[in-house]
């Protein structure tokens, strides 16, 4: 690439700084998306790719989704918004990022690493900050431009300022700042830092007045093998743990990380290990329920409730990284341990930067006092609420939640067992090519997904306020319908399939079975998708319905379902006279299973469930 190009690239990168910030915000919220975001995203990727132009483009460490489609229940998730990274991929990306910065800023790879870690692995941020004010960045990060000219004459022997022993000059060492200490003391200093945790990645010179960075070259050159391993492990982890776009897969023992592109699709991801999880809260995937509800629910289910009680009573979660913190001494000014390092006020959990004279100084936080008066921290209130949620009610929802989970696990096991064996057998028996039997797998994938959704609807139900009667009614009705629909599908996929597996000869009715199962799969999928959307909207349709009912009770279903593009379909398509008139000419909706039959195929009996047309 020529010089002009580089310049224009750099110009482009300075635009990104602003956008990166908004992108970071996107990660914080269930945010919608704008075209601007996408464009800048692409720009950044282009920028990243630039450096790797000469190496093989590096684009194929991405995850091949085709494998997972076969076995994973989430095959229908939008799959453009995340990439699964193995340890090798992570190292590759790290090396790539370092190479990019090394090239762009003409600095050493070690310095590039220090910079990238400081700016949380955001290439564009490093570029922008560097070109905006190189001197300031160097000072903050601890990168000296030129090695300090050694102020001392090179004596035969020097005294180390830490151990106070005399050493020959060859045994003394220093970072670029020229603060010489003996190798043993440096090693001890670095060893202590490594064993203190990932803070060792931003280690500074041992001289208290000096902020020079101690880079990985110096660290790895001095310490023991064991420390080297720890340090390189922290280096690897930093790419994931400091990086807002990458997180570890939360499955126990899983070593993959996932990179997420904000702004597209939902938070549900699927790791190469098979775990379906939520980007935001790293619990298992839980649509339609939001993260907060899931968190409450899981906390409630936590078997170690005694431990939990202790943690709740004696610690507060860091408002940024959520790790529980026990305050056993010291002032209200809390600094979370690295890599978080968030500084906050123990009383109000607000950022420390917001504190000062006007919030009442540092010993008594006004913000806390005010909020306390407003009842935000009212402990007694909280306990009363806990008492209200009686154990009985909880047990009801918990049992159903747990049952659906075990059904889901069973269905997944059935599916995995069926895939190689039964499909082969079915193919033999019915003289059908395996490729034509995808509808069976699809049905099972749908069952697994539905069980997952259904499971979470019980957590939703538990937290749906008792006094919202209309919502509760509608919710319970929709849930019941969903359950019934799923049972029909499950029944068909399990029992009906069995007859075709057992029969000796190809059966002519196999095609009917295909139509039926595919139809049921599609109907159930639509129903559940609508249910998920309706619950994610917190059943806002119900409020609309209520409003409509005041003016005219007969038009309630049509008004809502048409304006919302058919959401909450389960409710409306069955109740509305209007939906019948809507498409009566060509379609009719089955009263029983909601399947849209065509009048051309059958005008009296549903082809899916054989239920007579009313």
């Amino acid at each position: 690439m020529n010089v002009e190009e580089v310049k224009s690239r750099r110009a482009a990168s300075s635009i990104e700084l602003r956008n990166m910030e908004s992108e970071d915000e996107m990660l914080d919220a269930w945010a919608g998306t704008s075209d601007g975001e996408f464009q800048n995203k692409e720009e950044e990727e282009e920028l990243d790719a630039l450096a790797s132009d000469d190496e093989n483009d590096g684009s194929d460490y991405g995850f091949d989704y085709s494998n997972i489609d076969d076995i994973q229940p989430s095959s229908r998730l939008p799959q453009t918004n995340f990439t699964v990274l193995s340890e090798k991929d992570i190292r590759h990306r790290q090396a790539e990022a370092i190479a990019t910065i090394t090239n762009f800023l003409s600095i050493s790879p070690v310095d590039a690493g220090v910079l990238l870690r400081y700016f949380k692995w955001s290439i564009s941020k490093v570029n922008d900050e560097w070109f905006a004010d190189e001197e300031r960045v160097r000072a903050n990060v601890g990168l000296l431009e030129k090695p300090a000219t050694s102020k001392r004459k090179i004596d035969k022997e020097m005294t180390c300022g830490i151990c106070f022993e005399g050493h020959p000059f060859e045994k003394m060492t220093a970072p670029r700042c020229g603060h010489y200490f003996c190798e043993t003391c440096w090693t001890g200093y670095i060893h202590t830092a490594i064993n203190d945790g990932p803070g060792c990645l931003t280690l500074r010179c041992a001289d208290p007045s000096c902020g020079a960075a101690v880079g990985e070259d110096m660290v790895l050159g001095l310490v023991s093998n064991e420390d080297q391993q720890k340090y390189t492990r922290y280096l690897l982890r930093s790419y994931v743990e400091d990086n807002r776009k990458v997180k570890w897969c939360p499955a126990p023992g899983c070593e993959y990380a996932v990179e997420y592109q904000p702004g597209v699709g939902s938070y549900d991801l699927v790791c190469k290990c098979g775990l379906n999880f939520c980007w935001n809260c790293r619990e298992e995937a839980h649509r339609p329920v939001d993260c907060e509800t899931v968190n409450k629910w899981i906390l409630k289910n936590c078997a170690e409730s005694e431990n939990m009680n202790w943690i709740l009573a004696n610690s507060k979660p860091c408002p940024k990284c959520k790790r529980p913190i026990e305050k056993n001494q010291g002032c209200m000014h809390i600094t979370c341990t690295p890599p978080c390092k968030h500084e906050f006020c123990w009383l109000c959990l607000g950022a420390w930067t917001d504190h000062g004279e006007r919030t009442g100084g540092f010993y008594a936080c006004n913000r806390y006092e005010t909020a306390k008066q407003e009842g935000v921290y009212d402990e007694a209130e909280r306990r009363r609420e806990m008492a209200k949620n009686s154990l009985e009610r909880y047990t009801h929802y918990y049992e159903r939640w747990a049952t659906n989970e075990s059904s889901r696990a069973k269905a997944l096991a059935d599916l995995q067992q069926m895939q190689p064996v039964q499909i082969e057998k079915l193919s033999d028996k019915q003289c059908q090519p395996v490729s034509q039997l995808k509808f069976v797998t699809d049905a099972w994938l749908q069952i697994v997904e539905c069980r997952r959704v259904l499971k979470w609807t019980y957590a939703y139900g538990y937290y749906l306020p008792e006094n919202e009667h209309t919502k509760r009614q509608f919710f319970e009705y929709s849930q019941g319908e969903a359950e019934a629909g799923l049972e029909r599908l499950h029944q068909c996929a399990e029992k009906d399939l069995q007859t075709f597996l057992e029969g000796d000869n190809p059966t002519s009715s196999f095609n009917d079975f295909r139509t039926k199962l595919a139809g049921l799969t599609s109907v159930t999928r639509t129903y559940f998708e609508n249910l998920v959307r309706a619950l994610e909207n917190n059943l806002s349709d119900v409020d609309n319905l209520k409003g409509a009912a005041k003016s005219s009770s007969s038009s309630k279903a049509s008004g809502s379902s048409k304006s919302r593009g058919g959401r909450a379909k389960g409710g409306s398509s069955r109740s509305g006279g209007s939906s019948r008139s809507w498409e009566e000419a060509t379609h009719w909706s089955c009263e029983h299973c909601t399947y849209a039959n065509t009048t051309a195929t059958s005008s009296t009996v549903c082809i899916i469930c054989q239920y007579p047309r009313s």
């Binding site: 830490i162 151990c163 022993e165 200093y189 041992a206 208290p208 002032c331 540092f362 010993y363």
Partner: protein, 157 residues
């Protein structure tokens, strides 16, 4: 660890620091190692002039842990003192005793920092909340209390 084993293999750094503390004491500060345990120091700091602690003699204990100098010394006031950054157990809120510790710091620098803290209390990063509050709301009165306490508990009697 018994006193005997603690005193064997005493690092040269500690021996040198001790020697220097004894031979060139910092003004207003004395630190001498205990006879049973050379890592344990009895410290006395004179209240700095023009501070409410002027005229007081404050006793402290200082202990060098096994990891010293990679880890910070542990220091505590034994004399009762009315100060926003020192609590009733004598614990001190000072950054170089915690995350800002560096092995290039020494006993002497630590004690000088504590002496400076007596000259310049910092009620904005308090350890003893009620004292800090007192300091912020009515400094004059708080200073008076500090003087009173100095007279009562640190008059060297």
């Amino acid at each position: 660890m018994s006193a005997a084993t603690a005193n064997t293999n005493l690092p040269r750094r500690i021996i040198k620091e001790t020697q220097r503390l004894l031979s060139e004491p910092a003004p207003g500060i004395s630190a001498s190692p205990s006879e049973e345990n050379l890592r344990y120091f009895n410290v006395m700091i004179l209240g700095p002039s023009q501070s409410p602690y002027e005229g007081g003699v404050f006793k402290l204990e200082l202990f060098l842990p096994e990891e010293y100098p990679m880890a910070a010394p542990k220091v505590r006031f034994l004399t009762k003192i009315y100060h926003p950054n020192i609590d009733k157990l004598g614990r001190i809120c000072l950054d170089i005793l915690k995350d800002k510790w560096s092995p290039a710091l020494q006993i002497r620098t630590v004690l000088l920092s504590i002496q400076a803290l007596l000259s310049a209390p910092n009620p904005d990063d308090p350890l003893a909340e009620n004292i800090a509050k007192h300091w912020k709301t009515n400094e004059q009165e708080a200073v008076e209390t500090a003087r009173e306490w100095t007279r009562l508990y640190a008059s060297g009697a």
